[in-house]
Symmetry: C2
Subunit: 514 residues, 2 copies
């Protein structure tokens, strides 16, 4: 067995079953190994940002890593923006990068690049095995590193000669290190805060925001009157009727400050102290009120779910606190397109168990409100602020969850960064309905400009914010990559298109000019 | 004057007149400065790989740097693949990246990233000025670094508070350091080699391949019977009737070895010793014959043109050696599409002074032969092996040379990486005619696979090499971004479309299914 084959077989043995690929020459031996090992599902992307974003979406839903396969430093570079987003979300992922044969590197040929330097910018674990014999062990270590809580980005660089040489070994996969609970005194302190009667907010991330973790948090909130929050960059939030309600911290600084104003105590679970995305001249970056007592219950790497359940045990033995939020949908609106109307249509039609991927930016601000009491669903967002994640994230989520529908809400400016994902959606016939909010603006930048107190943007600044002239035609772009598409100009038509998209098989795109 | 404004005014004072932009929030103060300073032409791209590739194309033709403006680490990451190509081509370029306000960095908010780490992978010069006062000096230094021979990539990271604070200064721009000649003994040694009567090849890069440098090389070749070569990754090659002929080293190892086989001596001007792009099991990577005497006349950073002219002076006082290559075009072929036929159409129709951007990969192998004696023109290629350079390069070349036509020959797989460039071509109404060779394959990977001696690729490997299913429809993709497009299915139709495209104003795209 050569090094490449031992690497792929080790990944499979460790439960890594999907490889999002955009290989090149230096990865050919890995391609040849994948050719011989049909158990690893390969999904081709035509741009590496698609590949890395898809691996992120896959991991958020599957709760385990996929691998990616990209070409040397430049391929990794193309994947970097969505690796940045994944790093922020603490996503388990194994990035495989081909390197020149070790003895070829000194020639410094055109594709030679500082792969390690690039990978170091996001990787928690990075290794280039020295030989075929080490390739399997490197893969095993990568799996463990990726799956260590809360989830880590890893990069395994495989030199061509380590890939093609014989001597590959599939090692035993060590067990994943147990995720430690916070110290008992920490848990007790948080429980005491919750029992104090003071207004308390709990700001949570990771697996505290769905499943067992959110259920425990919901019961704690019901018992103590604490309020649950998620940071603005939501990785995965379970929500809808019957699910404990979690409020998202707003992007706009003043609105976020307003949200946390009532609270005397803030308990953090995996989340950092909330601050503004950006600094503004003369403005304070902190969001929580100055007198708020901020306490970290669980840090990244600790057991969020266990911590919540431990607190619940301290607070009360009662396990079944009813969640009062009842199912309710807005009625299906008709007529002229408004942002509120679009949100209401989504609220009226969202099927149970849908995965919503939301990078709708300024156009989709009403979406979460309109779906608060829709049937249960998951909500996935941009986690690192680098726009262009929605289409790849939807792709990866759909690969992980073939039985579910995916609704991808994206702004036009964002979608342009990784529009190549449309092709893979068509190729894999994935059940993703895409809504493009075509406001033909980097509207968030207009907002940020006006926020600086330097007046309104002039003609030349506006030309950097407005992406009409020419208008992008998303129905043509989608059809050009094999995705059926339609443009809607009324809420009635949007409702019909959304219903058809969510009911149908395979991808479809709805362009909504705003 | 704030730091941002002093930076832009310094760049202008140093002759930097074009900014290819895809800004975000942390660059808003630079956008505000650009808003006030209309002398700097801003060209918006909807993806950063477009922006960096365009700055490359601009610099190749303008022989001076453009600047780029990108958003923090993720924006820079998206630009990295074409920065890699530009690094290989030793292109002068000034990359401007916005950073969070210095006092905001410690909050580690979502967009915080290791900008320096990413920039270090390609930058010859990198600086984050500490204050508004330093911003102008940083810009001046960046200009000097970028313009130091043969041309260097630079990155200037401007923190938001350095951008918005008052105290900006526009300093005097120091003069660009003179490019040193190689040592006299080195020049004499090369001249002696050329006089020896032994079969000699001269392998040249940079400004030895056009203008005064190529003219001198041509005269030397005519006098001494030496043969002129360019490396496979051509940055800019002047060619056509009346221009000294330069042969391109072939990509395929065996063909390259065959090309250099006759030579007993090899003189290098700016070029490294030629080796294969990749290592192959059991194959030698070197291209020149083992007994060939390889001598470096000029290294990167030395004066290639001066070295050639100095040699010419030693060899003979005669200045006007006739170049024998006469103008000749193939006749315009008709009928069924073949690769040779497509090349002949281009050869028959190429207008004088056209800038040809060639990333046609396996489909365009006949193009250079068919245009050898076409009217004089420039030929620009992928220089770092990271595909997806053609459309951005054509965009930048067109911005630099409004009086010229640009013909962009690109493979479909390559073009997909940076297809967003089409939008900017339409927006700026640039005279670029694009030919998409739609073979629906990463054909070069198929070739590399078969080259490894591990048999033919199987079904799963082929699925990673074949990018049909679904077929990309380039006429829809182009129209979706505002570029008129047509699909041709005969050489007659290709000829008509090419003629119309090259005669018309603004961009157009011709899809050639293969």
């Amino acid at each position: 067995m050569n090094g490449a084959e031992s690497l792929i077989r080790t990944l499979l043995a460790g439960g890594v079953e999907v490889c999002f690929t955009n290989p090149g020459t230096s990865e050919i031996h890995l391609v040849a190994a994948l050719d011989r090992i049909p158990e690893m599902r390969c999904v081709l992307g035509l741009f590496e940002g698609v590949v890395t974003g898809a691996a992120d979406g896959y991991a958020r839903m599957a709760e385990k890593p996929a691998c990616t396969l990209v070409h040397l430093g430049p391929g990794l570079g193309n994947g970097l923006a969505n690796l940045h987003n994944a790093r922020r979300a603490q996503i388990p992922m194994i990035n495989l990068v081909g390197q020149h044969a070790t003895y070829h590197l000194h020639h410094d040929t055109p594709l030679t690049s500082d792969i390690e330097g690039i990978a170091r910018s996001y990787s928690k674990w990075l290794w280039m095995p020295a030989s075929a014999t080490e390739a399997g062990r490197a893969a095993a270590e990568a799996i463990i590193a990726a799956r260590t809580a809360p989830g880590q980005l890893t990069t395994l660089i495989l030199a061509a000669d380590a890939a093609w040489s014989e001597g590959g070994i599939v090692p035993r996969i060590p067990s994943i290190p147990a995720t430690p609970l916070p110290a008992p005194t920490t848990i007790e302190h948080a429980a005491a805060m919750l029992r104090s009667g003071l207004q308390t907010a709990i700001l949570m991330t990771g697996n505290a925001l769905y499943g067992r973790g959110l259920a425990a948090a919901g019961r704690i909130a019901a018992i103590t009157n604490a309020k649950l929050f998620a940071p603005y960059p939501i990785t995965r939030l379970e929500r809808g009727a019957g699910i404990p309600p979690v409020e998202r911290i707003q992007y706009v600084l003043e609105m976020a400050v307003e949200q946390l104003k009532p609270f005397r105590q803030l308990i953090l679970i995996g989340a950092p102290i909330p601050v503004a995305y950006f600094a503004y001249p003369g403005k304070n970056s902190e969001i929580a009120p100055p007198k708020c007592d901020i306490f970290t219950l669980a840090r990244a790497g600790e057991d969020y779910v266990g911590a919540l359940e431990a607190i619940e045990t301290i607070l009360t033995p009662q396990r079944d606190v009813p969640i009062t939020k009842q199912a309710a949908r807005p009625s299906l609106p008709m007529g002229e397109i408004t942002l509120q109307g679009l949100a209401a249509v989504v609220g009226a039609l969202l099927p149970e168990n849908t995965i919503v991927v939301d990078e709708s930016m300024t156009s989709g601000r009403g979406m979460m409100t309109a779906t608060t009491t829709a049937p249960p669903h998951d909500w996935l967002c941009n986690t690192g602020g680098s726009i262009g994640i929605a289409l790849p994230l939807a792709l990866g989520a759909a690969v992980s969850s073939p039985a579910k529908k995916v609704l991808c809400l994206t702004a036009d400016g964002s979608a342009m960064y990784t529009l190549q994902a449309l092709w893979t959606l068509a190729r894999e016939a994935l059940n993703v309905t895409i809504v493009i909010f075509a406001n033909r603006d980097y509207a968030v930048l207009k907002r940020e400009f006006s926020y600086l107190g330097i007046g309104d943007p002039g003609k030349r600044a506006l030309e950097m914010f407005e992406i009409g002239r020419p208008d992008l035609n998303w129905t043509l772009l989608a059809k050009g990559m094999g995705v059926p598409a339609t443009r809607v100009t009324s809420l009635d038509a949007f409702g019909r298109a959304l219903q058809a998209g969510l009911a149908g098989e395979g991808p479809s795109l709805i362009e909504v000019p705003l």
